[in-house]
């Protein structure tokens, strides 16, 4: 079992944001979990399977003002996880990859933990390339 995340959050308008601000978010929220996926998949293939969970934000699905860097990196992570799940499926390597989308304002650690435990356990053995969005108000739907 490998859990990637949680992401960094930056609140800035596009006008205020610098290229370096964006790059810092890309490193933490995309490149690091991507490295986790890459090496996690290689290691899990040796032992015959596993479950990888990426913690991301509900901003992967909706745009919000002053959140463009978070929207971009969360969406990148979401689609990256889907692609990795498909690559694992194609190899029939027994590895599942899923995402948990967390609301950056309202999600509660215990709820996130419960979702992680579910995705780690065999109860979720049919779930891959999927996501659980923890958003009480359904804003990201």
């Amino acid at each position: 079992m490998l859990v990637n995340g949680p992401p960094d959050v930056l609140t800035k308008s596009i006008g205020q944001m610098s290229l370096d601000d964006l790059r810092a978010l890309e490193e933490t929220n995309v490149v690091e979990p991507w490295l986790g996926l890459k090496h996690g998949i290689a290691a899990m293939r040796q032992r015959g399977g596993g479950s990888i969970v990426n913690l991301s934000l509900t901003l992967a699905r909706v745009g919000a003002a002053n959140m463009s860097g978070n929207c971009a990196t969360a969406a990148g992570l979401r689609v990256m996880a889907q692609a990795a799940a498909l690559e694992c499926g194609e190899q029939s390597d027994g590895i599942r990859v899923n995402s948990i989308l967390v609301d950056h304002q309202s999600s509660v650690p215990a709820e996130v933990a419960a979702a992680v435990v579910y995705l780690a356990s065999d109860e979720s053995r049919l779930m891959t390339a999927a996501e659980i969005a923890l958003e009480g108000d359904g804003a990201g739907a």
Partner: protein
């Protein structure tokens, strides 16, 4: 129909070939004052000369979208002979596909640079210029790969999905400024780039595979994307912002 973009200043990055060149030709036919940018001066000038000889108003500026200093130079140069852009098309991009376990991390960083950071810089600069002149339309060239994960596409998909949701955030910020931001999501569009990337045989096999899976049983041409870009550039789409338009022969629907 002509004159749909009469007197609009329209900048297209990566406009020297492929989809960008198709958009530039269509925009020029509709009366836009077009600026194309790209790294290859010879190809850029040839594209501009061709469109000009067909009666278009077009200029070429050399630009490498990954070079931060180039962006200031572009907007400085635009200010003088052409004026601030009414329409800005972040079209430059690149695509490298490979299984994640064989993919170098620096190639991932290059994908993010070409497809997210360049789009950020273009949007950042264009929004500032458009806010001063009271509005405008920004069009970001994403991909069907930015909507759904695909095999060998962890890096490319991440970069195009990033661009897509970045654009949705930009649309929210643009609303009070009269700036619209939309994304276009082509499926496979046939151009020189496909053969360059995959070789003749690889491209032919890929084309067959895509045609088989596409409800309209064809691959697209740059002109198929140009029509959508003209629509987003024109006042016909004045009430449309924060939207994704998929142009893929139905590929995503199955």
């Amino acid at each position: 129909m002509t004159g749909r973009l009469e007197n609009k200043v329209m900048v297209i990055t990566g406009g020297t070939d492929g989809i960008g060149r198709g958009c530039a030709a269509a925009a020029a036919r509709e009366g836009a004052r077009v600026v194309i940018t790209g790294r290859d001066e010879k190809r850029g000038q040839a594209t501009a000369d061709q469109i000009q000889s067909d009666g278009g108003d077009i200029r070429y500026f050399r630009q490498d979208v990954t070079d931060e200093a180039n962006w200031d130079a572009l907007f400085d140069e635009l200010g003088n002979p052409v004026g601030a852009p009414d329409v800005f098309v972040n079209n430059a991009g690149d695509c490298i596909l490979k299984p994640i376990v064989d993919y170098p991390v620096d190639t991932l960083r290059y994908m993010l640079q070409m497809n997210i950071e360049a789009c950020f810089m273009g949007t950042h600069c264009a929004m500032q210029a458009m806010a001063v002149r009271g509005g405008g339309s920004i069009i970001n060239m994403s991909s069907v790969a930015g909507l759904k994960g695909g095999v060998n596409g962890t890096a490319y998909g991440a970069s195009k999905a990033g661009m897509t949701l970045f654009s949705k955030a930009a649309a929210q910020e643009g609303k009070p400024l009269g700036i619209r931001v939309n994304t276009v999501h082509p499926g496979l569009i046939w151009g020189d780039g496909v053969v360059d990337a995959m070789g003749e045989d690889g491209a032919a096999t890929f084309r067959k595979m895509i045609v088989a899976r596409t409800p309209l049983k064809m691959v697209g041409a740059p002109e198929d994307i140009a029509g959508i870009v003209v629509f987003f550039a024109s006042d016909e789409s004045a009430h449309v912002t924060g939207k994704e338009l998929v142009v893929d022969g139905g590929y995503m629907a199955v």
